[in-house]
Subunit: 307 residues, 4 copies
Amino acid sequence: MGEKKGIQAILDNAYAQARQVLGEGRVASYIPELAKADPSNLGACVLLQDGTEYDVGDFNIPFTMQSISKTFSLIQALQTAGYEKVFSIVGMEPTGDSFDSILQLEQKDWRPFNPLINAGAIAVVSAIEGENIFEEFVELVQKLCGDDKIMLNENVYHSEDMTGNRNRSIAYLLESRNVLQRPPVETLDDYFRMCSVMVTAKNLAHYARVLANDGIDPGTGERLVDSDIVRTVKTLMLFCGMYDESGQYAMKVGMPSKSGVGGGIVAVGRDGSGIATYGPVLNKKGNSVGGIRIMEILSRELETYIF
Amino acid sequence: MGEKKGIQAILDNAYAQARQVLGEGRVASYIPELAKADPSNLGACVLLQDGTEYDVGDFNIPFTMQSISKTFSLIQALQTAGYEKVFSIVGMEPTGDSFDSILQLEQKDWRPFNPLINAGAIAVVSAIEGENIFEEFVELVQKLCGDDKIMLNENVYHSEDMTGNRNRSIAYLLESRNVLQRPPVETLDDYFRMCSVMVTAKNLAHYARVLANDGIDPGTGERLVDSDIVRTVKTLMLFCGMYDESGQYAMKVGMPSKSGVGGGIVAVGRDGSGIATYGPVLNKKGNSVGGIRIMEILSRELETYIF
Amino acid sequence: MGEKKGIQAILDNAYAQARQVLGEGRVASYIPELAKADPSNLGACVLLQDGTEYDVGDFNIPFTMQSISKTFSLIQALQTAGYEKVFSIVGMEPTGDSFDSILQLEQKDWRPFNPLINAGAIAVVSAIEGENIFEEFVELVQKLCGDDKIMLNENVYHSEDMTGNRNRSIAYLLESRNVLQRPPVETLDDYFRMCSVMVTAKNLAHYARVLANDGIDPGTGERLVDSDIVRTVKTLMLFCGMYDESGQYAMKVGMPSKSGVGGGIVAVGRDGSGIATYGPVLNKKGNSVGGIRIMEILSRELETYIF
Amino acid sequence: MGEKKGIQAILDNAYAQARQVLGEGRVASYIPELAKADPSNLGACVLLQDGTEYDVGDFNIPFTMQSISKTFSLIQALQTAGYEKVFSIVGMEPTGDSFDSILQLEQKDWRPFNPLINAGAIAVVSAIEGENIFEEFVELVQKLCGDDKIMLNENVYHSEDMTGNRNRSIAYLLESRNVLQRPPVETLDDYFRMCSVMVTAKNLAHYARVLANDGIDPGTGERLVDSDIVRTVKTLMLFCGMYDESGQYAMKVGMPSKSGVGGGIVAVGRDGSGIATYGPVLNKKGNSVGGIRIMEILSRELETYIF
């Protein structure tokens, strides 16, 4: 990491450059409620291991996590149901290529590839154990993000529920193959709610810092997540956290990251730092245009990449 | 890295443990010549940044590179044809999952996903520019492995050529889509030869050390590969270097690695070290059973993983 | 057709031969209620254009139509919503092979291929128009089968509903693509009921005779189905009425037919005759083992095939 | 069939109507040599069982058979290698839909579906036995078409060979699965030659009449093809002779037919008649625009359909 004094300048500069490219994408429209986001929003937060915080723009505007929730639900499932149970119903591979595959065209089995695709996340959510699964999910998010005001966005939840036929199709297909551990309707209801929990870039930077410190919150010294689980989550984030832009992103940014169509990106930095961005304008891959631009610059300037 | 004195002991112990699991796999049989390998062979080499070398077992027995050649041909293509040319005909993603894919069942376009699958490697080989492409390939391998005796195994090459109908099918399909930059027969001939070049674990450890030092040979201080190319190759190795065991391997071993069905594994360690193993007994995924076991132990004991 | 005197003998002989092969299959088990069928049941009915009827075995035992219902629902949809509407949401091709396909591996669009596969039938059921769609379906079946006692099997319907997750997955996928014309739950409820309507082989022979006479009931002279609709239904039955055994069946039997996993087969004969069989023991393709055997013999002996 | 006197008028009228729609398609361009065809060409020939012949337009202009050759090579394979051998390496189904398939997305095995798709035809050609397979093929075509002048178009053959990478890919894939009975290069060479044999609409009408008379040439009374083989070929023509327009074509025309991208269509009529058309302007499915129009009108006016 560079001099602390210079980090704010780097962040401001990254923000200014990222504003230039917002015209290259569009706000998500497949869920009506998401389409209401303000395309000019952009913000970022860098949180060093020692707690120093650098912010820019709309770092404090709440947005729904969407796919970023998949990393939290995976942690919750691994904590309540255990590693073996979870990975008996979902794979951990970014790709299905075997050493003798022909052009990736051969049939894959029906176990979802990994917990960060929709089918995998739905399977993972079905495996979570507990009395009040969604309430406990929110508590976990609050703890990992260091903010006990984090809550559900009811409108987005209802919007997800109304338009979730593709996910319903996936859930019933998994159910017909006996993959789901809870009934499809109940599982999907939790899944839709989890996607609709609101966080800020600041919240996510806090979360990323916990992951960057092996599961320990450096502010309190408390271990929140086991080391093994952190390693699993970070590996999957690196491999498939940015949809089918993960390879290109890894070469440019090189930090385990996860994006959501709500506009957020959370990235685990080197040296125990956490970084997050918010910008609802997405590229064709479903990733935040401004967020990626900021991450590229920070990664290069702060040397936070792992390769 | 641990104390140098202790490294040999760790390596010896890893070797002993790996011998126990050789019964869990089989020597590759899809090419007759490979089936002749001695299943009891096992060896490893660790090469520190400062040149200190630790060896065990059959670290000096030559074997054919097979898929490990894909990393060398990618370097050669990027050096002769350039980044843009290469990645216009092959992707850089471990996976084809878009943010709205249903269970990975939707159609992918016909550009091979990445340079480490057969289709991608064939496309990459077609893009290499030069007068004597295969001779220059061998020279590149010799330089990166620090051994000017490295050469082709004619028998394996002819065996590859005799049984390469699956690769021929891929090449003609790519040709029919105008992906190949050279004629299929010429491209395949180079591809089969490259797979059939013989190296030792010691050679591959030398190569890995160059990649671990950003493309510079620490012994001579000479830059052999540009930094950008090294980063590209390491990212792809991490993401898809171990076929469809890459995710699981990354969680356990955490080093950018590449395996070949000839029995080799090459791994880029932290702190500028290179590691390689040889053991022709393969698991069902096509990776060396003994090699993976040694890598797991070394990664944990020497803390060479990147996560 | 042979001499009427000889037809009963031919039918008796076919029945005797078919009994020999019942051991070659099994009763359907994927729906619990179907698994209760008596594997020794076997029966057939031949109904000539002039009304002469030949029966053997369990021709009068009721069973659920299952996929045979797809031909009735197609007629109902074409009668209420029209040809254009129906074939705007479902195809009419047995196969997706275009003249330049490679091994059938290229992607098909998401419109179901034809009305006789599950996805197509669900789309077709969603297109049916009317006040009381299922009641009107039953009336149509009663009229075409000449039996006003035909009714729903409540147990099978509930069993279908309990185990219909695969069909739910299909319905929600179609809904997410805006193919369905009515809500998925409502459409599926009708679809499950239609599959669970009980008929006898005698009923189905009556139905087949109507189709064999271009949509006119020869007994009453009343036109029940338009000529164009009959031609459409018969073509689809011939092409894909016997699942992926349709080609082989057409070569051996050569009559437009439709089978159901409840054990029925209905076949449209030449010269205005209708033939139907019942036998719940199915082969691996999901077709009645005894029924196919009887159809083969009758087709050859009575020369009812169309080629 | 209508009055003989009226048939010429019907044919003339069909020809006139078909000329109106030639603008709705284009001459095949994927093989350079085919692109040279004259788009204004159009012709047809109807040959009654008794030998009466009706012609119109370019019924006597030679064109290459292309996919129509698949029906001849199937006959040659069945005559020389036998039914069991041929159908052990190729299927006989128009579709791969099993009773429990989901939207046709599940994996098919690698045996080509049927002899009328490229992969199936290549497999069939590999199974043909004989001393001089291509010469014997030409003799068979000459006999079935009643014209001993039929010969190879060398230019089209070389054009096919130059641009046949897609078929090469298929052949090597089949070879890698041990489906082919002869070496790929030899098989493909025969396959390309067979596609490049020139016939006229008059030739094909003669051929169709043989198929319409159960394999007997009504002119000479000689049996040229066994009854079983004829039935197999006619069934496959009906099911998949018109690429993925087969279902729609069957409903409108209802005659077992086969088209080729050279512009020909051959159709087996009722009552022992043979019909063929030529028109190189193709629709998007690869079928002759003018030919289909003529077939639709003839089928309706002459009542030659089988449903």
